[in-house]
C-alpha cells in the first residue's frame, strides 16, 4: 500500500517528527521530499540571520533555513550530525536544518490538541498548528507555509 493510499484509507496522517534544540516538532510527511546530511552552505549576502546560505541539491540551488533561529530559539551551529529536511513549500523547495529526525508518526486528526495559549508571540502562534502527546513527549505540529509566509517572500 502506498503512502498516499494509506493516508486516504486510514483517515489519518503521517508526520515526520524531528528535534530542534530541546524541543520536538513535526511536519506533514507529504511536504517532505528528502532528508540529507549537512553540507557547508554558501553564504548569501544581506540574508536574514536564519538563512544559512545555499547548497547544491543535485544541480538545483537549495536555500537552507536554520529552523532553530527561525522559530526564535538559539541559532544552530551546524555540524555533520545535523540533518537537512528538504521540504516543498508552495512552489519552492527549501532545506530545514534540524538537530535530528526522530520518527514517523501515524496519527488521526483527533489526536491533535489545540495549541495552548501560553504562547505569547504572534508569530509562534501562527505556525503552531497544534500539539501532540505521544508517549509522554510533547510534539508541536508546525505549518511550513506559515514558517515561510508568501507575502514576506514577495517583500524580499
Amino acid at each position: 500500500m502506498t503512502y498516499a493510499a494509506k493516508n486516504l484509507t486510514t483517515d489519518g496522517r503521517e508526520l515526520i517528527a524531528f528535534r530542534v534544540g530541546d524541543q520536538e516538532f513535526c511536519v506533514n510527511v507529504m511536504s517532505v521530499r528528502e532528508i540529507r546530511g549537512w553540507t557547508p552552505a554558501t553564504l548569501m549576502p544581506h540574508a536574514p540571520a536564519y538563512m544559512l546560505g545555499i547548497i547544491n541539491l543535485r544541480g538545483a540551488v537549495l536555500p537552507i533555513v536554520d529552523l532553530s533561529a527561525r522559530l526564535g530559539m538559539k541559532p544552530a551551529e551546524p555540524t555533520v550530525r545535523h540533518v537537512i529536511i528538504v521540504a516543498q513549500v508552495k512552489n519552492q523547495v527549501v532545506g530545514l536544518l534540524v538537530d535530528a529526525v526522530s520518527d514517523i508518526l501515524t496519527i488521526t486528526d483527533d489526536k491533535i490538541q489545540p495549541t495552548p495559549d501560553v504562547i505569547s508571540s504572534e508569530f509562534e502562534r501562527s505556525f503552531a498548528r497544534g500539539v501532540l502527546a505521544i508517549e509522554g513527549r510533547l510534539i508541536c505540529l508546525i505549518e511550513l507555509q506559515s514558517v515561510f509566509p508568501q507575502e514576506e517572500r514577495e517583500a524580499a
Binding site: P40, A41, T42, L43, H46, A47, G59, L62, E152, A155
Partner: protein, 762 residues
C-alpha cells in the same frame, strides 16, 4: 483541443508562411524567375488567407485576397515581377505581417498604409488583367493597359495588333467567352472534406455550363478502393466573369486536384498535351468548329495557353511535394542553399531544391520548449555531477593510473558530447532575425530616401534560441544606424564615385565556440574628427588626448554619444550605441567597430552560443567563492600601496595610468565583512558597467577562469541584489555570480538592501 489552441497553431504557421513569403520575394528580387519560387510565394499568401478565413479575420482575408490576386498575375506570367512590382509586394508582405500580428495580439495597424497598398496591388493586378483580357475585351481599355508602367520586358510586350479586326471577326465570342475546365479531383480532395458536386454547382452559377463526367478511370468493382477518386469532369462554361472567377471556385481545392482552365477561342492544341484524360468528341467538335481568328491573336493565345500549361504542369507536379519541400527548405540547412543565397543563380537554386527534396525525408517534430529546457537542466546536473565525481576520485586516488580514472575520462567525454547535442536542440538558425532586418532596411530606406540593398550571409548559422530572441533589438538599432548614419544619400554616393545604391551586409558565422555577427555598410565611415570633437565637447576625453583611430571609433559606444542629432542631422531615429553595447554585453557578448573613411564601417559582435553557460572569473572574497562574468572585466591588476588614495570619509580611489578610479570592496558591499579590506592584499578587477563608468572591484584573490553553468536563485529563493545567479563548482559547492552593474550602482551610494524587511519580520 479548443479553438484558441487551433488558432495558436494557425498563427505559428502564419509566421512560417510569412518567412517563406519574404524569402521568396527576396529571391525574386535577386532575379530568380523559378516558377516554384513564385508558387511558394503564392501558396504562402494563400494559406494565410485560407486560415484567416476560417477564423473570421476579415481584415487579414481581404488584404491577403488582393495580394493573392496580384501574385496570381505573376504566377500566370501576366505580370512581370520587376523591381517596382517587387517593392510593392515586399511592402505588402510587411503589412500582411502587421495584420497577422494585430490579429493575434490585438493592437492597431496603419490602415492608411494598407489601403494604399491595396490600391497599388489592385493597380498592378488590373493593369495586367486588362492586358490579358484585352483579347476578349473590345478596344478602348487596351490603350491604358499598353501604357501601364508595370508591364515590361520578356514575354509580355504589348502587341500592336488590331482589336477592331478581332472584334469584327468574332463578335459572339466577345460577349461570352467559353472556357473549358478539366477538373480531376485527387482522393485528398475528398479526404479534406471538399465535395466535387458543390464545386461544380458553384461553377454553374458563373454562367451557362455543360458538364461531361469521365468515368474511364473507374475500375471494376473488385479493384475499386472506396476512398480513391476515379471520376473527372470536363466542363464547358460560357461566362463573362473571367478565368479568375473560375479559379476562385476551386480556391481551396486547388492543390488536391488537377485543374485545367482554358479559353476556347482557338484550336486549343497546346493544353491538350497536358490533359490527363482523353478528349471527348463533343468538346472537340466545338473546338473544331471555331473559325480561325487572326494570326496575331492565335500566337498570343498559344503563348498564353502554353505558359498556362507549363504552369499547371508545374503546379500539379509540385503540388504535393512542394509543401514538404517548403518545410525542408526552412528546416534544413543545406550548403547548396547557402551558396544559392549568395549567388542566386538558377543552377544553384535548383541544386538547393533537389537537395532539399532529398532531405525532405528527414522528419522534424515540434517539441515543447519546456521539455527541451528540462533536458538541458538535467544534462547540466549531469555535467556538474561528473565534475564532482572526477574531483573526489582525484583527491582520493593519488596514483592516477587506475581503471577508475580511465572510466572517468570516458564519462567526461560522453557527458560533454551529450551536453553539446542537447544544446544543439535549442540552437536555431539566425534566419528569422535576419529576415526581420530586411524589413527594417526597407522601411528606413524609404524614410530616408536612400536606396539600400541588404545582403545577408550565413543566415543558417545556429545559436541558442534565447540569444536569437535577444539579438533582434540591438541588431535593429544597428541596422537603423547603418542606413541612417552610415550610408550617404544617393547624390553624395554618386559624387564619391560609388553606386547610388548603398549596401549593408549582415553576416553570421561561428568562430571558436562563439557566434560572430558582422554588420558592414559601404557608407562614408566614421567621421573621426567630428567624433573626437564631440567627445571633447562632452568632456569625454581631454582636448589634447592622443587617441588611436580605433579608440576614437569606439568612442561612439560611450554613453555621451547617446542621442542621434549629435552626429547626424536626422533626429529621432538614432539610437545610442551605448544601449546597443549594453544589450550585447548583457548577452555576454562583445562589440567592436572598425571603420575606413570613405569605405564604410564594420560592427563586429561576438556572442556566446548559449545563455546557459557563462565564462567567468572565479574569485575569493572573504573566504567565499564568487564568479565575475568575464565580459564585464576590462583588466585585472595588483594594486600598489602608492596607487591607493583615500578620498572623502570612506572612499578610496586607485590611480590607473594617471586616471582615478573608485575602489569598490565587493566583500563590504555584499556584507561579507564588517570593515574594508586592505587593497594591497587583494586584486583589483577593472570593470566597465552600465553608464560607461569604470570601477575597480576589490577581491581577495583570483582562483581562475572557468565556464560555469548558470543556475537560477529565484527558483527556490528570491532575487538577491548584487547577485545575478548562482552556479555549481567542480567541488559541488554553490558559488554566486556577481551582478557587476548593481554592485557598481551600490557603490554610488544606492541601497543594496531592500530585503532586510525579511530579517526584520523574522
Amino acid at each position: 483541443m479548443d479553438m484558441n489552441e487551433i488558432k495558436e497553431i494557425f498563427f505559428q504557421e502564419c509566421e512560417e508562411q510569412l518567412a517563406e513569403l519574404e524569402s521568396g520575394l527576396l529571391k525574386l528580387n535577386d532575379g530568380d524567375r523559378d516558377p516554384e519560387t513564385v508558387n511558394a510565394v503564392f501558396r504562402a499568401v494563400h494559406s494565410i488567407k485560407g486560415g484567416a478565413g476560417a477564423f473570421g479575420l476579415d481584415d487579414l482575408v481581404s488584404f491577403a485576397h488582393v495580394f493573392e490576386t496580384t501574385l496570381d498575375c505573376v504566377r500566370s506570367n501576366r505580370l512581370d515581377p520587376g523591381p517596382e512590382v517587387l517593392k510593392v509586394m515586399l511592402k505588402s508582405a510587411d503589412v500582411l505581417a502587421d495584420l497577422t500580428n494585430a490579429a493575434r495580439d490585438g493592437g492597431s495597424v496603419d490602415e492608411a498604409r494598407s489601403r494604399q497598398l491595396i490600391k497599388e496591388l489592385e493597380a498592378l493586378a488590373n493593369g495586367e488583367v486588362l492586358q490579358a483580357s484585352a483579347v476578349a475585351e473590345p478596344v478602348v481599355k487596351a490603350a491604358p493597359a499598353v501604357a501601364a508602367p508595370v508591364v515590361n520586358d520578356e514575354g509580355f510586350q504589348p502587341v500592336a495588333f488590331s482589336f477592331d479586326d478581332f472584334e469584327a471577326d468574332e463578335p459572339a465570342l466577345m460577349e461570352m467567352p467559353t472556357y473549358e475546365i478539366v477538373f480531376k479531383p485527387k482522393s485528398d480532395l475528398y479526404a479534406k472534406g471538399n465535395e466535387a458536386t458543390l464545386l461544380l454547382r458553384d461553377l454553374s452559377r458563373l454562367g451557362d455550363m455543360s458538364i461531361h463526367c469521365d468515368m474511364d478511370a473507374l475500375p471494376t468493382l473488385d479493384r475499386l478502393s472506396p476512398e480513391s477518386a476515379y471520376f473527372s469532369w470536363k466542363v464547358s462554361l460560357k461566362t463573362d466573369k473571367g478565368e479568375d472567377a473560375i479559379r476562385t471556385v476551386f480556391e481551396f481545392a486547388e492543390w488536391d486536384c488537377d485543374l485545367e482552365v482554358s479559353l476556347v477561342s482557338d484550336d486549343a492544341a497546346a493544353p491538350s498535351e497536358e490533359l490527363p484524360m482523353q478528349p471527348v468528341p463533343f468538346d472537340l467538335s466545338i473546338l473544331d468548329d471555331e473559325p480561325a481568328v487572326s494570326v496575331g491573336v492565335i500566337e498570343e493565345e498559344e503563348q498564353l495557353a502554353a505558359q498556362q500549361a507549363i504552369r499547371d504542369a508545374a503546379v500539379s507536379a509540385a503540388g504535393t511535394a512542394s509543401n514538404v519541400l517548403q518545410m525542408a527548405q526552412s528546416a534544413t540547412r543545406t550548403p547548396a542553399e547557402k551558396s544559392a543565397g549568395a549567388a542566386a543563380s538558377a543552377a544553384a537554386q535548383s541544386a538547393a531544391a533537389q537537395q532539399a527534396a532529398a532531405s525532405a525525408a528527414t522528419p522534424t517534430i515540434r517539441v515543447d520548449l519546456d521539455r527541451v529546457d528540462r533536458l538541458i537542466n538535467l544534462v547540466g546536473e549531469l555535467v556538474i555531477n561528473q565534475a564532482m565525481l572526477s574531483q573526489s576520485v582525484i583527491e582520493n586516488d593519488a596514483n592516477g593510473t587506475s581503471s577508475i580514472n580511465m572510466g572517468l575520462e570516458e564519462l567526461q567525454q560522453l557527458t560533454r558530447e551529450i551536453q553539446d547535442s542537447v544544446m544543439a536542440i535549442r540552437a536555431q538558425p539566425v534566419k528569422p532575425v535576419f529576415q526581420r532586418m530586411s524589413r527594417i532596411v526597407r522601411e528606413i530606406a524609404d524614410m530616408t530616401g536612400k536606396s539600400v540593398r541588404l545582403i545577408t550571409e550565413g543566415e543558417n548559422t545556429e545559436v541558442d534560441k534565447t540569444v536569437i530572441d535577444k539579438l533582434a533589438e540591438p541588431l535593429t538599432h544597428m541596422i537603423r544606424n547603418a542606413v541612417d548614419h552610415g550610408l550617404e544619400t544617393p547624390e553624395k554616393r554618386l559624387a564619391a564615385g560609388k553606386s547610388a545604391e548603398g549596401t549593408v551586409r549582415l553576416t553570421a558565422k561561428h568562430r571558436s565556440g562563439r557566434i560572430v555577427i558582422e554588420l558592414a555598410d559601404d557608407g562614408a565611415g566614421i567621421n573621426r574628427e567630428k567624433v573626437r570633437q564631440k567627445a571633447i565637447d562632452n568632456d569625454l576625453i581631454a582636448a589634447d588626448a592622443n587617441l588611436s583611430d580605433e579608440e576614437i571609433d569606439n568612442l561612439i559606444f560611450h554613453a555621451g554619444f547617446s542621442t542621434a542629432d549629435k552626429i547626424s542631422d536626422i533626429s529621432g531615429r538614432g539610437v545610442g550605441m551605448d544601449v546597443v553595447k549594453r544589450s550585447i554585453q548583457a548577452l555576454g557578448g562583445r562589440i567592436n567597430i572598425s571603420s575606413k573613411p570613405g569605405h564604410g564601417s564594420v560592427f563586429i559582435m561576438s556572442l556566446p552560443l548559449t545563455l546557459a553557460v557563462l565564462d567567468g572569473m572565479v574569485v575569493t572574497v572573504a573566504n567565499q567563492t564568487l564568479v565575475v562574468p568575464l565580459t564585464a572585466i576590462v583588466e585585472t591588476l595588483q594594486p600598489e600601496a602608492a596607487a591607493i588614495h583615500s578620498f572623502g570619509s570612506n572612499q578610496r580611489l586607485i590611480s590607473i595610468r594617471n586616471s582615478f578610479c573608485p575602489l569598490v570592496d565587493v566583500g563590504r558591499i555584499l556584507n561579507f565583512r564588517a570593515s574594508q579590506a586592505n587593497p594591497v592584499e587583494g586584486v583589483a578587477l577593472l570593470v566597465e558597467s552600465e553608464g560607461g563608468g569604470q570601477r575597480a572591484l576589490m577581491v581577495d584573490a583570483i582562483q581562475g577562469q572557468r565556464q560555469v553553468v548558470i543556475k537560477s536563485l529565484e527558483a527556490n529563493y528570491t532575487h538577491v541584489p548584487g547577485i545575478a545567479a548562482a552556479t555549481i563548482l567542480g567541488d559541488g559547492r554553490v558559488a554566486l555570480i556577481l551582478d557587476v552593474d548593481t554592485i557598481v550602482a551600490a557603490s554610488r551610494g544606492q541601497s543594496l538592501k531592500p530585503e532586510m524587511s525579511l530579517a526584520a519580520a523574522g
